[in-house]
Amino acid sequence: MASRPKLSGIQRQVLALYRGFLRTARQKAPEERHRIEAVVSVEFRENARNVDRRNFVYIEYLLRRGKRQLEQLKNPDITGLSTLEVNK
């Protein structure tokens, strides 16, 4: 097994947030679970590609936003989420 790279604190936070979303998705209905996982993984991968890894201010802002969205998703009354593309 290849040696795992040492993750920085902020990388661990991002991964913990991702894990939180996947765990919360497990609590919802099966079709919604797939949609949530798709939306969340797309968002995380896009940001991982586009955001400069040294731009801590923006990453921390995205983390705070993600944590708030995760708290909302954890609410049992919320059944799912969806996204909307706005073309300017």
């Binding site: 923006y58 802002y61 708030r68």
Partner: protein, 326 residues
């Protein structure tokens, strides 16, 4: 055009006019709120004086011009405002952007200036606002280094100095002047700001039950007991005091902050609430929740509603110590 000369501030409330007082027949003594809070009257005086100074400067400028037609924006009444800007979507660090506003064509308060900037100069400026009368607590921000609500802060009409408008200090910024207050609200929620009783209310008398359709009565309170809540219930949760407290800056997770503690004391001193002792115990148990207050009194100095959170916190500390001794 606004009438900006200094209005006559002497009124019935100042004790002028015996005839007027006779007409009121001493009712004002039973309603102290009609007399007006001294801090509110001082604020109004400051706003009126500022506007009068502005009118004087405008007249001075016109006299110097010798009656010639005025240029587009009269230089005497234009003031520079340096506003904190940061957009999470665009790269780069936060910066102060300067806007030049003609105070003669704008309302007297800082919120009027911000609305004018947003509507005429730059619509991308983000700030919270709602009631424009100092009761909702949305527009709280740091104006010239002092935390207040923008709708109650008169503009300093000295046009030679720039005014600096920044978001509440030591708070995560969402965009421009909007800050993240979720931690603040969680702390308010954690003190359980609702009535908790051990007994049901006393049953209503027969006629009350008939009128209301139920035998369940009310939790009654005498005027003396209600007076204990004055100075505590008026808090609008604007977060000005908590964000002015250095102890809250360094420990915002553990320390509840003056606003939440003021509300905790409001529930402790409410005679209808039966869990006063337990509330104080809960606050004092976690050493950080209340005892991180170091009597800095920055909260009292900055409160836009002229409340006294530090006195409330001292009172609660005293209550806890006395109950421990008893």
């Amino acid at each position: 055009m606004l009438r900006r000369t200094l209005p006559a501030l002497r009124s019935v409330k100042d004790g002028v006019g015996g005839a007027a007082r006779q007409a009121v027949k001493g009712e004002a003594q039973h309603f102290p709120s009609l007399r007006g809070h001294p801090a509110a009257r001082a604020n109004a005086r400051e706003a009126a004086e500022g506007q009068a100074r502005l009118a004087a400067a405008e007249e001075e400028e016109e006299r110097r011009r010798g009656g010639r037609p005025a240029p587009a924006a009269a230089a005497a009444t234009v003031k520079e405002f340096q506003v904190y800007r940061w957009n999470p979507d665009s790269p780069g660090r936060p910066f102060l952007q300067s806007y030049f506003v003609d105070l003669a064509a704008c309302g007297p308060m800082v919120l009027d200036v911000l609305v004018k900037i947003k509507s005429e100069h730059d619509s991308t400026l983000a700030f919270r606002r709602s009631c424009r009368e100092g009761i909702c607590g949305s527009c709280s921000m740091s104006i010239d280094g002092v935390n207040t609500v923008a709708c109650l802060k008169p503009v300093d009409t000295d046009t030679s100095r720039a005014s600096m408008i920044t978001p509440l200090p030591h708070m995560y910024v969402v965009k421009d002047l909007v800050v993240d207050l979720t931690n603040f609200y969680q702390q308010y929620k954690s003190i359980e700001p609702w009535l908790k009783t051990k007994r049901p209310p006393p049953p209503a008398s027969a006629e009350e039950a008939g009128a209301r359709g139920t035998a369940r009565g009310e939790h009654r309170q005498s005027p003396a007991q209600r007076k204990k809540l004055d100075g505590l219930y008026e808090c609008i949760l604007c977060a000005c005091c908590s964000t002015a407290c250095p102890s809250y800056w360094w420990n915002s997770e553990e320390f509840l902050g003056p606003a939440a503690l003021l509300h905790a004391y409001r529930w402790v001193s409410d005679s209808r609430d039966d869990y006063g002792e337990e509330r104080v115990q809960a606050l004092a148990e976690g050493w950080d929740k209340m005892y991180r207050c170091r009597m800095i009194k920055s909260c009292t100095a900055t409160c836009p509603k002229s409340l006294d959170p530090s006195a409330a916190i001292s009172a609660m500390k005293a209550l806890h110590q006395l109950r421990k001794a008893a």
